[in-house]
């Protein structure tokens, strides 16, 4: 299955939008097209996985094969994914580098164009940069590692830190959770493993960036973050892919564990090209008085299905999902939140804002579960949709199951439209139609954008502007 390395021509093929460029492939390891037990063995061999991981993967493969597509509730568009036409593992066989100077030129240029080394210098505590299946760069600042913080890729995590990794791996999200968590569990590669020791408050964010470079490729990173008692961490994730002729699959699993009194914030800004199927499972466990926050911004992709969840397992735990989704022409953002209250006095908060542009469609799916035997639980859910054009679509499926009467829940939903009078007013002051649209959309998400670190809110505004530019005239 190995493919001969190709000569590197460090000239990226230019396209017109951010992130829409690609370098020629030069993979030393290529699992080929299609998925079978042999594919899983190939990945295990290349990665030199321990036996328990090989077993884990093979069990997951069987679950994946048995589980039907969830099209009884989700979109039929899932059926267009052809699992035989996807490549499940691609890498150049290089170990992740600790210095950008050692990273191969084309990969380095890719990340430079995406602004990663610059952000690292400016405000990050550590960075991992993944190119197709494996990390090309991984570094954490000395001051952070001296505090005992572990920040490595998943392969290194499961081998070098098995005693911390293994007890939680696949426990927050079992392989059988859904068809795509099973798929990820079978073929995962890359992603981060992070451990923050008790009491350590990491002041600057750690960041991972996931880049797809190859066509017909599936990216299946796996992230596990454990923040020990009283510790704090903010983790940020960014993603892009060039626009290919054929569909690309991104199917990650992210598991978070916040021990007693810990605080963990996970921020995503994804800007996938419009033919990526982005089917991601993300869930966190919050122990006593711990807090897990998902801050999620979904721009681009053909179909995103993502419902970050928090299981509030300990008394007084808090869970939060703050999300922004923008669905442009031909895109479907099917996003939401799952809040599982499993202890007394737990609090969850969901704020979701979606924007549908052109023929774009956004769907909110919520699940709030508060069982009868608990008391003092609070949930607040607010989902607002903004429709830009008459053909834009939005739908909301809030499932709130609250048993017993010792709880407080609140649900608000709204659908609004950018009015012609509003756009006319702004144009009369000299803004072009696209600028007016952009400003309106930015205004709509303004209160949520403030939740993002400054550096990211600027980026977010720029991405929204780019999306709106193409949407008018």
């Amino acid at each position: 299955m190995d493919k001969e390395s190709q000569t590197v021509t460090a000239i990226a093929e230019e396209k017109d939008t951010v992130g829409d460029f690609t370098f020629p492939e030069r993979n030393k390891f290529d699992a080929g097209y299609g998925l079978s037990e042999a594919t899983v063995d190939y990945i295990c061999d290349v990665k030199n996985d321990p036996d328990w991981v090989r077993d884990f993967r093979k069990k997951a493969l069987r679950i994946f094969e048995e589980k039907p597509m969830p099209t009884h509730w989700a979109t039929k568009d899932l059926e267009t994914i052809n699992f035989d036409k996807i490549r499940y593992y691609l890498s150049d066989g290089e170990r992740p580098k600790r210095s950008w100077d050692e990273v191969p030129d084309d990969i380095k240029e890719t990340f430079e164009r995406l602004g990663i080394p610059e952000q690292e210098r400016a405000f990050l505590a550590g960075v991992e940069a993944q190119f197709d299946s494996e990390a090309a760069y991984s570094n954490v600042k000395d001051a952070v590692s001296e505090q005992g913080v572990i920040f490595v890729n998943s392969a290194e995590g499961l081998k070098e830190h098995e005693e911390v990794f293994r007890p939680w791996f696949g426990k927050v999200i079992p392989s059988s959770d859904n068809k795509f968590s099973a798929l990820n569990s079978a073929v995962f590669s890359g992603g981060s493993f992070i451990y923050v020791p008790p009491g350590v408050k990491v002041t600057h964010p750690l960041q991972a960036y996931f880049r797809i470079n190859s066509e017909n490729f599936g990216q299946f990173e796996r992230t596990l973050i454990i923040v020990d008692e009283g510790a704090e961490l903010t983790y940020m994730e960014g993603c892009t892919a060039p626009k290919f002729e054929t569909a690309t699959l991104h199917s990650a699993v992210v598991e978070l564990v916040a021990m007693k009194d810990a605080k963990l914030q996970y921020i995503t800004v994804q800007n996938w090209s419009s033919n990526v199927f982005n089917l991601v499972t993300k869930r966190g466990i919050a122990h006593e008085n711990a807090e897990v926050r998902w801050i999620d911004c979904n721009i681009g992709s053909r179909l995103t299905m993502k419902y970050p969840g928090v299981v509030m397992k300990g008394k007084g735990a808090r869970g939060e999902v703050v999300s922004i989704a923008l669905a442009n022409d031909g895109q479907h953002q099917d996003t939401g939140a799952k809040m599982i209250h499993a202890a007394d006095n737990t609090t969850s908060n969901v704020v979701s804002k979606s924007i549908s542009v052109g023929e774009g469609r956004s769907t909110y799916r919520g699940q709030v579960h508060i069982p009868k035997h608990l008391k003092g639980c609070v949930n607040n859910t607010e989902c607002d949709a903004l429709l830009i054009n008459s053909k834009s679509k939005t739908d909301t499926y809030p499932a709130i199951s609250v048993k017993g009467n010792k709880h407080a829940t609140q649900h608000e939903a709204s659908v609004s439209q950018v009015s012609e009078e509003q756009i006319f007013y702004m144009q009369q002051r000299g803004l072009s139609e696209a600028e007016a649209m952009s400003l309106s959309v930015n205004g709509f998400v303004n209160d949520l954008v403030r939740e993002f670190p400054m550096e990211y809110s600027v980026e977010l505004k720029r991405l929204i502007d780019l999306e709106m530019e193409g949407s008018v005239g």
């Binding site: 509003q422 006319f424 144009q427 002051r429 000299g430 803004l431 930015n442």
Partner: protein
């Protein structure tokens, strides 16, 4: 140099509202348009601004010899046309400061950025002159503003954008006498040989404070009478029926 409207006909949903309107506002002058409700004053204002609901069926408008109808709404604005709306729109989530900044930035040459410090200084200064609380910089444009606050905000934008021609559509409605004076004072400071004003009003009261050079009376989509500032007083005294009767008899 003027805003010159020639034989303008315009319709909405197939109903003709403007029926051959002629008017010239030279730079440096303040003209008032008075007229009964429904005579087409706001229609004129929106047609000049380029609202897409209205169809211009014939006639022309030139602004300093530029064809206004050849320009998009935003181009007209950047070329120096300003409309203070009778009913200003609300823009949720967009602060007054950000909106004004974006409007001014849109007027900058490509690649040049607005001087933020200078901008805030100027905005605060003008808000002071209009008796607007500084907290309005951070509030969403017109959202939850009272009628009077909205009108002040329109004048703030007028002062910041400093257009060549400004149409004020019933800026006096919804204002108490003190607010009216402040707003009129704001407009008066903007009077200049480099700027023309068209002040639309239903009542004579505003014209006590913004004294016009010329007064036009509009009825049924046309200018039916033109005179000096005394015409406004005469109208106030005799009522609009007087103009309508004159129309019928003429």
């Amino acid at each position: 140099m003027s805003l010159l409207i020639t034989d303008l006909h315009a319709a909405i949903d197939g109903t003709e509202i403007l029926k051959g309107l002629n008017l010239e506002v030279p730079k440096g002058e303040v003209h008032a348009i008075m007229g009964p409700n429904g005579s087409g004053k706001s229609t004129l204002a929106k047609v000049l601004a380029g609202h897409e609901d209205y169809q211009v069926t014939s006639g022309s408008v030139s602004m300093d010899n530029q064809d206004l109808f050849a320009m998009e709404v935003d181009e007209r604005s950047r070329a120096g046309f300003f409309l203070a709306f009778q009913y200003p729109a609300e823009i949720p989530g967009v602060s007054n400061a950000n909106f004004l900044r974006a409007a001014l930035q849109a007027r900058m040459p490509k690649g040049e950025d607005l001087d933020a410090v200078e901008f805030y200084k100027e905005m605060r200064d003008k808000m002071g002159k209009l008796g607007m609380d500084q907290k309005f910089t951070g509030r969403a444009v017109n959202e939850g503003f009272s009628g009077g606050e909205k009108k002040r905000n329109e004048i703030l934008q007028l002062m910041m954008l400093a257009p060549s021609y400004a149409v004020l559509d019933e800026t006096d409605s919804g204002l108490d006498i003190d607010a009216l004076k402040v707003v009129a004072e704001g407009v008066n400071t903007m009077r200049s040989p480099a700027r023309g004003f068209l002040v639309i009003t239903h009542y004579q009261r505003l014209l006590d404070y913004i004294v016009p050079d010329v007064v036009h009376v509009m009825a049924d989509g046309k200018i039916v009478k033109t005179g000096g500032k005394d015409l406004a007083l005469e109208l106030e005294e005799k009522g609009y029926d007087w103009v309508k009767e004159e129309l019928v008899t003429s």
